[in-house]
């Protein structure tokens, strides 16, 4: 068994060889499923998720057969689009095969967090009486799951062409020593992997684009208040880096689509503002 997180102080290296302020490798692709309205695939280290967006569409039995969210029967009329999120965590995604039922509380919480984060930055008022169905699938888990899900959902929404104020980007931050150790000199950590999440305090933060506006902040572990500020600062900084990476992916895909002639050239230059 390799060393655990307590070895950090020996040479300022984390369990996987990163420094405190380094992200894991992020690999992202958009438009992975041609038939969908919007889709994406995202890896943050060994956390792998895919996302498919359907809509905005009229809620009804024909399209968007997905349950969840509000617009079930279409009887009620709302002035904004409804963002319904479903998260499916594959049984094979973690080390031990685990079957999670529909009503799993953790999954429900993930869904509602993502849904409210995206609803705030998508221009839902442009699509009254419709549903945006975001379907997320977790293929592999290695920490920072919520962050990866938010990032994948953002990419898929962009691919689907849903108007939004800015990227909602997320990442996690932690601290190098446990709550009980109460080490004043603990360093903050960026982008926690599974082992670190198990052993150390951590939080997930999502910001709106390159601004410092925090869209999501989830902290489920116990940590001293004095350490929280450092963790948050590192997390927000990480979000900016993630935005850069996602932005590059989107632009790269756009450029390719123009080259391949998937989109009319004239239109793209004006509307899509690529380079």
């Amino acid at each position: 068994m390799p060393l655990d997180t307590s070895a950090y102080s020996l040479a300022l290296l984390r369990v996987d060889g990163r420094r405190w302020n380094e992200l894991r490798r992020i690999h992202a692709q958009i438009r992975t499923q041609a038939a969908a309205d919007g889709s994406s695939y995202l890896e943050m280290g060994h956390t792998k998720v895919m996302c498919v967006v359907t809509g905005p569409s009229e809620p009804g039995p024909k399209r968007g057969g997905m349950t969840g969210g509000v617009g079930g029967g279409g009887g009620e009329r709302s002035s904004t689009a409804d963002v319904s999120v479903s998260v499916v965590i594959a049984g094979f995604s973690s080390v031990d095969r685990k079957r999670r039922g529909r009503g799993d509380k953790r999954t429900l919480e993930l869904q509602s967090t993502i849904s409210s984060a995206l609803a705030a930055s998508l221009h839902t008022h442009l699509h009254p009486n419709s549903t945006i169905a975001i379907s997320l699938h977790v293929l592999s888990q290695d920490g920072s799951l919520l962050a990866a899900l938010i990032n994948a959902a953002t990419l898929a929404c962009i691919d689907a062409g849903i108007p939004m104020t800015d990227y909602v980007v997320a990442c996690t931050a932690g601290s190098t020593s446990t709550y009980a150790a109460n080490d004043e000199g603990a360093d903050p950590l960026l982008d926690m992997n599974h082992q670190e999440e198990q052993e150390l305090p951590s939080l997930t933060v999502a910001t709106l684009g390159s601004s410092d506006r925090v869209a999501v902040l989830v902290c489920e572990s116990r940590v001293q208040v004095s350490r929280l500020e450092g963790m948050l600062a590192v997390g927000v900084d990480g979000c900016k880096q993630v935005r850069e990476i996602l932005d590059r992916v989107v632009r790269e895909k756009g450029r390719r689509m123009i080259q391949e002639g998937t989109i009319e050239k004239g239109m793209s230059l004006d509307d899509m503002d690529i380079d």
Binding site: L10, A11, L12, G17, Q29
Partner: protein, 986 residues
């Protein structure tokens, strides 16, 4: 269709990412495949002060402070490496010779590779912790190089390569890289990078690759004074030669594989437990397993199969025809295995002829008895889960030293006899036999393979001549794992800056006075043993207008000075308790606090934590409260002084009156406790009187019991119980409490049977109340001491009280059996016990004096603290007793007195006598009675031993006997102890 396939070429980072795949099995037997990312980098410094490039890229913490380089720019040289050298040991080097690396004379500038650290952690956590603390020490210059994360030194495992081979290759790769890297610095003298390994194959490959490499022995020989260090290299390494000579001569059965044991234990066919050796018979062990109410017996060398006392082992129950009775015979290793030759392990059977004979007699007796019910299930050890080997104190068996060993410096095998009789002899190979004979030495066990009858070990250091005060005291402290080193500077830095001049601030506006009650006008005094310097507690009482009485217990406010989680707190939590030896006290907290600033000395103001009760004259509690306070003790009495004052009717001052009131209340409190079923137990307690100047022991006195002692005791118990209730109410999950489990009834089986047979008395163990009552009835009109004797024996049947965290037990389990209290904790001695300090913090939080500190609320952490202090507490008691035993021996030196004693235990070839006057017990063997050894017949039913022939004696259990007590140097343990000679029975 869009393809999701991607090539790694497009990713600039791809080359730097590797992954680590390994398979592990969990406790429940599941096999998991773990895949982890590994990010390879080039900015991991070599950490040599010679290298300027690495200095520039030194990693920084979040606050921007870089890690300074560790390795010296002019490392020490050896014969073969005059230019200086850095050492890179492999895992085996650390596993086998960690003691070497902790030496002060050599082993500086060591590069610890990450792979080595990881392997070490897998193999032995204690060694890993020792190594980590070495890397943190500034003067040893140990640097951890994360070779697995550095791009150049990371190597993937090749097809068909074993993990070990791969790791060895990684070590060689790192050594080679270091060599090249340092060569690039272009300094004049480039230190050599030397790999230390004991693996021949690895050394050979290293030589082939052109890397500097040495075996440990080769390396140590190059050092100055290496001869001395050579002994610390475990014998298995250079013992290769011996092994090759005699292959296949295996004395012990092979252990089962780990997986076979695990499945066996899971299916209930095998049993797991801690192996305990009988203190009277080194060939008999017992093991308690959860499946059976009574312990399983493990008899004989072959069945014990290399298990050492304290090891976690797996046993298999033997077929019924092999079940036996526990031995009624004393078998000591030195008498039976006296003339073994340490070099001659060959050819002999594992059980020597004499041992076999001793066992045969056992069997005969068991079989002669028709009562089959007496035979107990026996078992044999089939594997060891975890060794509990530590460092052992012992001395070299004079008889095992060969003549040549006395003179030359040739390596020689000798036996070391550990002080702890339960540990087998350890075979040691050393070149300094001549110097070590007659010394107390510290050794450790390295291995015990199937081919050798005794475990092999190596020498660590010498403590000094046998029977010198310094050596014996240190031996004792080491044997009981007492932390006796002086407090490090980091701890002393936590003390108040004013030192001895610290005073309670005069102004009540000072932050120190926040929420403190001013109790300086109360007539408070302390009552302690003579010469007590660390005064934890003080008391007062005063009448209230309504006829009730206010009584107060004031405890030193240690938690004011020792803040949670600083260096001093950590040190105290490791030490756990102050250890009292006859001539020495090993403090838990630095002297300044323990004997001055915290100590409730008379005539000065001190911070205290007070418990105040309003009691009716019948000692019923009307109400109580807890508060931090400032007090001024009026006087520090000794028990004797206080007793005189109380008894002297002419003394009518307020202070004396208040002590009398407390005395009256304490009697009522005691009566209430007794009514509830509290036990009054006993242990032989004596006090050694020392000559004041030379501190040589001159006399031994039994401790006298005074009423003032029970006065203090009762109020301390009351305070502890009150505090326990309060902190449990405030922290139902994390209160630190103390419990004393009810002993299993079977514990008393033997004693009850003995009483029934010998005295016709019944021992009722239904409840503590019933036990207390039946103990009261155990009296012999002719012999007043008989009752105490039974109480001493009953005490030994009890469980040990333990600290625990309230969340780990159900409420009914909280009970303190001995005190017959529902709930109990330790609160009254924070200067000398860490548990009390934690209770202080919890109580302070419970009364909202201060915020709850996370360390007193984290259950996991408290459990760890409890585990440690339970062990420390026990060790401190044992060390204290051993110290008294040693000094009793010294006090009796050269004297011979006749004393009365009582037979406590009886075997077929000897009996144990307790002499209350000295509080000592000793074994008298048949062969001590007369020469030649008299023939004896032993009746186990009636506990009687009759001898005939050379001397005719009849001895039975509980009998009063006359013995001659002399001192004698015990050849086995090297301790001076008492020897008893039987004179006559009464």
């Amino acid at each position: 269709m869009a393809s999701l396939k991607r090539s790694f070429d497009s990713d600039p980072l791809a080359a730097n990412i590797s992954s680590k795949v390994y398979v592990r099995s969990t406790k429940s037997g599941k096999v998991q495949k773990i895949v982890r990312e590994v990010y390879l980098r080039q900015d991991i410094p070599c950490s040599s002060k010679l290298c300027k490039t690495c200095l520039a890229t030194a990693p920084k913490t979040a606050s921007g402070t870089p890690i300074p380089p560790v390795l010296s720019n002019a490392p020490a040289g050896t014969k073969n490496f005059p230019q200086g050298h850095y050492i890179v040991p492999d895992t085996n080097a650390f596993l086998t010779a960690m003691d070497l690396f902790e030496q002060d004379s050599a082993f500086y500038d060591v590069i610890v590779l990450q792979i080595v650290l990881e392997e070490l952690r897998n193999r032995s956590l204690p060694l890993y912790n020792r190594l980590v603390s070495l890397t943190k020490s500034e003067d040893k210059r140990f640097y951890v190089f994360f070779n697995e994360f550095r791009l150049e030194t990371h190597i993937p495992r090749l097809e068909g390569e074993t993990v070990n081979d791969r790791n060895d290759r990684a070590v060689r790769k790192a050594v080679a890289w270091y060599g090249e890297h340092l060569a690039r610095t272009k300094v004049k003298t480039i230190p050599a990078v030397v790999m230390l390994s004991n693996d021949r194959d690895n050394l050979r490959k290293a030589k082939a690759e052109g890397i500097h490499a040495c075996s440990l022995a080769e390396y140590v020989k190059q050092l100055k004074g290496g001869e001395r260090l050579l002994d610390m290299i475990p014998e298995t390494e250079d013992g290769d030669v011996i092994k090759e000579k005699k292959p296949g001569q295996l004395l012990y059965p092979e252990y089962f594989t780990m997986s076979k044991m695990m499945t066996g234990v899971k299916s209930g066919l095998l049993h797991q437990g801690t192996f305990n050796v009988s203190p009277y018979n080194y060939l008999e062990g017992s093991i308690r397993v959860p499946a059976f109410p009574k312990a399983l017996l493990v008899l004989g060398r072959e069945n014990i199969n290399r298990a050492v006392d304290g090891d976690l082992v797996v046993v298999e129950v033997l077929p019924k025809e092999q079940w036996k009775e526990p031995s009624t015979q004393v078998i000591e290793e030195e008498t039976i295995a006296k003339n073994e030759n340490p070099d001659a392990d060959e050819g002999e059977d594992v059980i020597s002829e004499k041992e076999r004979k001793a066992l045969q007699e056992e069997v005969k007796r068991t079989q002669s008895k028709t009562t089959e019910g007496h035979a107990q299930p026996t078992a044999r050890v089939v594997g060891v889960i975890k060794r509990n080997w530590r460092q052992y104190v012992g001395h070299i068996d004079q008889s095992s030293v060969s003549q040549s060993g006395q003179q030359g410096r040739k390596q020689d095998s000798v036996f070391v006899i550990p002080m702890d009789k339960k540990i087998p002899k350890i075979r040691l190979r050393t070149r300094q036999v001549a110097e070590l004979v007659g010394k107390r030495i510290l050794v450790t066990i390295d291995a015990w393979d199937r081919g050798s009858r005794h475990p092999t070990g190596h020498f660590i250091r010498s403590l000094g001549e046998l029977e010198t005060k310094a050596a014996e005291t240190e031996a004792l402290l080491l044997e009981y794992d007492v932390q006796y080193r002086p407090f490090p500077k980091t701890v002393l830095d936590c003390l108040p800056k004013e030192g001895h001049d610290w005073k309670v601030p005069a102004s009540t506006d000072d932050p120190g006075w926040r929420d403190r009650q001013d109790l300086r006008d109360l007539l408070i005094c302390s009552i302690d043993p003579i010469g007590c310097q660390d005064i934890d507690d003080a008391l007062h009482s005063r009448p209230l207008p309504n006829g009730n009485i206010e009584a107060g217990v004031h405890i030193a406010d240690v938690s004011h000075f020792v803040r949670p989680n600083n260096a001093m707190d950590t040190e105290a939590s490791i030490r756990g308790t102050t250890v009292y030896l006859v001539d020495k006290r090993i403090d838990m907290l630095p002297m300044l606090l323990g004997t001055d600033l915290c100590s409730l000395k008379p005539y000065v103001e001190r911070y205290a934590f007070s418990v105040l009760w309003e009691l009716t004259p019948d000692a019923d509690i009307v109400n109580m409260r807890f508060t931090k306070s400032v007090i001024k003790s009026r006087e520090a009495f000794s028990y004797e002084q206080a007793q005189l004052k109380v008894d002297d009717a002419s003394q009518q001052d307020d202070l004396t009156k208040s002590i009398r009131t407390l005395m009256a209340l304490s009697r009522k409190l005691k009566q209430k406790r007794m009514d509830a079923g509290a036990l009054s137990l006993s242990s032989p307690e004596v006090k050694v009187q020392m000559e004041s100047e030379t501190s040589d022991p001159i006399d031994v006195k039994t401790k006298q019991h005074l009423d003032t002692m029970s006065l203090v005791e009762e109020f301390m118990l009351l305070a502890n119980v009150s505090v326990a209730r309060k902190i449990y109410e405030a922290f139902p999950q994390t209160a630190l409490l103390r419990r004393h489990g009810a002993p299993p009834k079977t514990n008393f089986d033997e004693l009850a049977n003995q009483l029934r047979v010998k005295k016709g008395l019944e021992l009722n163990v239904e409840s503590s109340r019933a036990l207390a009552d039946s103990l009261d009835k155990c009296v012999d009109e002719k012999e007043p001491f008989f009752n105490t004797l039974i109480r001493i024996m009953a005490t030994r049947c009890m469980m040990a009280a333990e600290y625990f965290c309230s969340g780990t037990q159900a409420y009914p389990e909280f009970r303190h059996y001995g005190l017959a209290s529902e709930i109990y904790t330790h609160f009254t001695s924070p200067i000398r016990r860490y548990a009390d300090l934690v209770a202080h913090r919890q109580l302070a939080a419970a009364i909202e004096y201060e915020a709850v500190h996370p360390s007193v609320r984290s259950r996991g952490r408290l459990e760890a603290v409890c585990k440690n202090i339970n062990v420390r507490h026990r060790n401190a008691q044992l060390a204290g007793r051993a110290s008294i035993a040693y000094y009793v021996g010294q006090a009796l030196r050269g004297k011979a007195t006749e004393e009365d004693g009582f037979v406590m235990k009886i075997f077929s070839n000897g009996f144990v006598v307790l002499v209350p006057r000295f509080g000592i017990e000793s074994l008298i063997r048949l062969r001590d009675l007369a020469e030649p050894e008299p023939v004896a017949s032993f009746d186990a039913e009636t506990y009687t031993l009759r001898t005939s022939g050379s001397r005719e004696v009849a001895v039975e259990l509980f009998q009063k006997v006359r013995v001659r007590v002399t001192d004698q140097k015990d050849e086995t343990t090297g301790k001076r102890g008492v020897k008893m000679e039987f004179i006559r029975a009464y």
